[in-house]
Amino acid sequence: MEYILECRKIFKSFGGVQALRGVDFTLRSGEVHALVGENGAGKSTLIKIISGALLPDRGDIFYMGQPVRIDSPRKAQEIGISTVYQEPLVYSELSVLENIFLGREIRTPWGNIDWKREEEQARSLFASLGLPHHFLREPMGELSVGLQQLVLIARALVYEAKVIIFDEPTAILTEHETERLFTIIRKLRDQGVGIIYISHRLEEIFRIADRVTVMRDGEVRGEFPIAAVDRAKIVELMAGKLLVEEIARRGAKGDHPLLLVRGLTRRPRFFDISFDLFPGEILGFFGLVGSGRTDVAQTIFGLFRPESGKMLFDGREVSFGSPEEAMQAGIAYLPEDRKVQGLFPIQSVAYNISVTILRELVRRLGIVDVRRERDIAEKHIRELSIKTPNLKTRVYSLSGGNQQKVVLAKWLSVTPKLLILDEPTRGIDVASKSEIHNLIAHLADRGLAIMMISSELPEILKMSDRVIVMHEGRITGVFEGPEKTAENIIRAATGERMAVAGGVGV
C-alpha cells in the first residue's frame, strides 16, 4: 500500500457550480502534504469530502488500500481521519480533558466516566508530544487558542487518527505557538501519521511540508515534492495563467484623490495602510487569503472602526460608524460572500436592486414609488444584462453570475462616488465574468473611483490601473505602468517588501 489515502477523479458541484473537477489527491503515511489555493479553489470542498462533511458526486476514495465511503464526520473519525479546524470546534465551558474525550469517553465498569484513566492517557499523550499537561482540568475556554489547538490534536490521537487534516492552523497562532505546532507535526509525521496541511502562508509550507498540491478553480494545477518548486511558481499556479487580456479604457483619471487613507491600522488585521484613490481609476488590491484586504475595505465602509489612522473622503476627514453613514457619503461595498452578505434570497430582483435607495424612491407618507423603482430596476437589468424572467423573480433562483449583477445593480443605484468590489467575479462563469469586467471599466470611465479586491492575477492585471499588494496586513507593493507585472505582484504577495513607490499621491 503506497498511499494511506487516495482520492481519484473527485467531482462535486453545488447547484450548477462545479466546485471540484476530477481532482486526484494522495497521501502517504509519515508525510506532510500541503494543499494550497485561493478561496473558491476547491480545497475546502475537498477537505469536507475527506472529512465526511460532504459526499462526492463522482469519484472514489481509498483508505488504507480499501475503497471507502465516508458519509459522516463521525465515520471519518472512526476510521482514523481527524480534522483540526481553523476555528477550533471546542466546548469552552467544559474542561480540557472533556474536550479531548467527549464522544469517546473511557468508562468504568459501572458506566461512569473514568476521569482518572482519562487523565492518565491524556498525560502520556501530551508527554509523548513534548507538551505540558497541568491544565487538563481547566475549562477549555481559558486556554489560549494555540493550546486549544494542541488539545484538539490530542483529541485526534485519542481517536487513533492515521490522517490528520490541519485547516489553516496558524492563522490564529503566535510565532512561538506556530513553532510548537510544527514540532508536534514533525513528531506526528515521524510516528507515521499522514498529515494534510492547508495554508496560504507559503513560508510555512516550505518549512513543514514534504509535498504540495496547488488547486485553482476546482482543479489540481500541480503537485510537486517541496524541493522541486519555489514560491513564485506556486503563486503563479494559484493565481492563474498569465493570459494577456486587454480592456479598452477611455476615461481619464481625476486630478484630486477622492479617498486618502493614511496609516490605517486595526490590529491584528492590518497595519499602517496608506494609499490614494482617484476618480476614474481602478485600484486593484491583490494578496493571498488573510492579507487583510477585505478588512481594510470593510473598515472604509464603516463596518468597523480603525484603531488609528485617518481617512479623507472628498476632501473631508471622515470616520464612519456604520454602513449607513458610509453610504450617505457616497461609498458602496460589494461584499465577498454575495449570498450571505449581499442578497436577500427570498426577495425579488426589484427589491434587491432598490433596497439601498428606498429613501429616495419615497413619495408622500413613506410610500415607495413603485413605478420609479421599476424603471430603475429595468434600467439596471438592461445595462448589466441581467437575465431574469421578470422583476418579481426571487433572486435565489438566478444563476451566480446574474445574482452578482443584481448586487452590483443594487450598489450602482446609490450612484456612489467610490465603489469597493470584493472578489466581484468569484464563482462566476467566464462569459459573465467578461461582461462584468466591461461594466466595471465603463463605470470607471464615467468617473467612479473603484477599489477592486481580487485574488485572480489575470483579472487584476487586466483591470487595474494600479495594483496594491498586501501581505499579512501590510502593503508590500504598489505597481503601475511598466512595473505592473505578474512577477512583481507575485513576489510582493508572498511577502517580499517592494519599494512602495506609487502608493501615495503620485
Binding site: 464526520p73 473519525q77 466546548y91 465551558e93 467544559l94 472533556e98 481547566e138
Partner: protein, 317 residues
C-alpha cells in the same frame, strides 16, 4: 467533583446566590419575627420542594438551549390524574407511577416535536400549555378534587428529622442528577450540546436523543411535583400549576444557568429555588401584596439574564 471547570463555576455564581440567600434571611428575620419561626420555615421548605424538583429538569432543558413553559400545565395535569386516582381508591404506588407516566408522556411529546419536527421549543411548549389546560378542565368537569386520602398526604406534609419528606426527596434527586450530569456521558453530552451543537454533532452525539431525554425527564419530574402538590394541599383545581413555570424558570436562571445554554448546575437551581421561595415568603410576611410577585420575579429574571449576557460578551472579547 471530578472537574475543575465545575469547581471554578461553583466559586462564582452559586456562592453569589448563597450569599444573597443569607442576606435575605438576615433581612427578613430582622424585619419580621415570624420569618424565623419553625412553622414558617418548614412551610417554606414544603412549598419550594415542587419548584426545586421541577427546576432540576428545567436546568437540563435550558442547558441544551431550550425552554419549557408547559411545565406548570404538566404539573396541573399530573395533579388531576393523581387526584382522581387517589380519590378513586387506587394504591399510592400505582398513583405515583401514573403521575410520573403522565408527565413523562407530555415531556416525550414535547421533545419529539422539538427534536424531530424542528418546531422551536417556545412554540411547542406554549401550545402544549394551553392544550393541557383544556384537557385538565375536561377531566375535572369544571369541579375541584378534594377528599384526598390521608395515606398519601405524608409525601407532601410529612417530616423526617424535622425536614419535610419532600425536601429529602429533592435532596436525593439533586444528588443523583449532580452525579449524572458530571459523571455520565449522556450528562456531559447535555453540556456539550448546549455549548457547541455543531461540535457535538460532529463528535457523534445524537442531538435528537439528548433533546428528547431532557424534555422527557422534565416532564416526569413535573409529574412527580404534581403528586407532591396534591399530597401537600389536598385539592386540585382547574388552575393548579398556573404560573408555576415562571417560578421554575426563575429558579433556574437565578441559580446560574445561562439562558444561552451550555452552563448551569442543578445545585445552583436548588439555590435559585430557595431564593425565589424566600423572596415570596418574605413578601407575604411583610404584607407586600402577592400581586407584586410577578413584578419582582420578572425583574430578577431580566437582571440575571443581563448579567449572563454581559459576562458572555466579556468572555468573547
Amino acid at each position: 467533583m471530578t472537574n475543575t471547570g465545575f469547581r471554578k463555576m461553583l466559586r462564582r455564581r452559586e456562592f453569589t446566590v448563597l450569599g444573597l440567600i443569607v442576606v435575605l434571611v438576615v433581612l427578613f428575620s430582622l424585619t419580621t419575627e415570624r420569618f424565623m419561626s419553625v412553622s414558617n420555615l418548614s412551610n417554606l421548605l414544603l412549598q419550594l420542594a415542587g419548584t426545586a424538583i421541577s427546576a432540576i429538569g428545567m436546568t437540563m432543558v435550558i442547558i441544551t438551549g431550550g425552554i419549557d413553559v408547559s411545565v406548570g400545565s404538566t404539573l396541573g395535569m399530573a395533579s388531576v390524574v393523581a387526584g382522581k386516582l387517589l380519590v378513586g381508591g387506587y394504591s399510592p404506588f400505582f398513583v405515583l407511577l401514573c403521575a410520573l407516566g403522565t408527565g413523562l408522556a407530555i415531556g416525550l411529546f414535547n421533545g419529539t416535536l422539538i427534536a424531530f419536527g424542528n418546531v422551536p421549543p417556545i412554540i411547542v411548549t406554549l401550545g402544549m400549555m394551553s392544550i393541557l389546560r383544556s384537557l385538565m378542565y375536561q377531566l375535572l368537569g369544571g369541579r375541584w378534587i378534594s377528599g384526598i386520602p390521608p395515606a398519601i398526604r405524608v409525601i407532601g406534609l410529612g417530616k423526617w428529622l424535622g425536614v419535610p419528606i419532600s425536601m429529602w426527596i429533592t435532596v436525593v434527586l439533586i444528588a443523583f442528577f449532580t452525579y449524572f450530569l458530571s459523571s455520565r456521558p449522556l450528562g456531559r453530552a447535555i453540556y456539550a450540546m448546549g455549548n457547541n451543537p455543531e461540535a457535538a454533532r460532529v463528535s457523534g452525539i445524537d442531538l435528537r436523543r439528548t433533546t428528547l431525554f431532557v424534555y422527557a425527564v422534565l416532564g416526569a419530574l413535573a409529574g412527580f411535583a404534581g403528586l407532591v402538590y396534591v399530597a401537600r394541599t389536598g385539592i386540585v383545581q382547574t388552575n393548579t400549576g398556573s404560573g408555576f413555570e415562571l417560578e421554575v424558570i426563575a429558579a433556574v436562571v437565578l441559580g446560574g444557568t445561562s439562558i444561552l445554554g451550555g452552563r448551569g448546575t442543578v445545585i445552583g437551581s436548588l439555590l435559585g429555588a430557595f431564593l425565589v421561595g424566600i423572596i415570596k415568603n418574605g413578601m407575604v410576611l411583610l404584607n407586600v401584596p402577592a400581586l407584586s410577585e410577578g413584578l419582582v420575579v420578572g425583574v430578577l429574571i431580566i437582571l440575571s439574564v443581563m448579567i449572563d449576557v454581559i459576562r458572555a460578551r466579556g468572555e468573547r472579547s
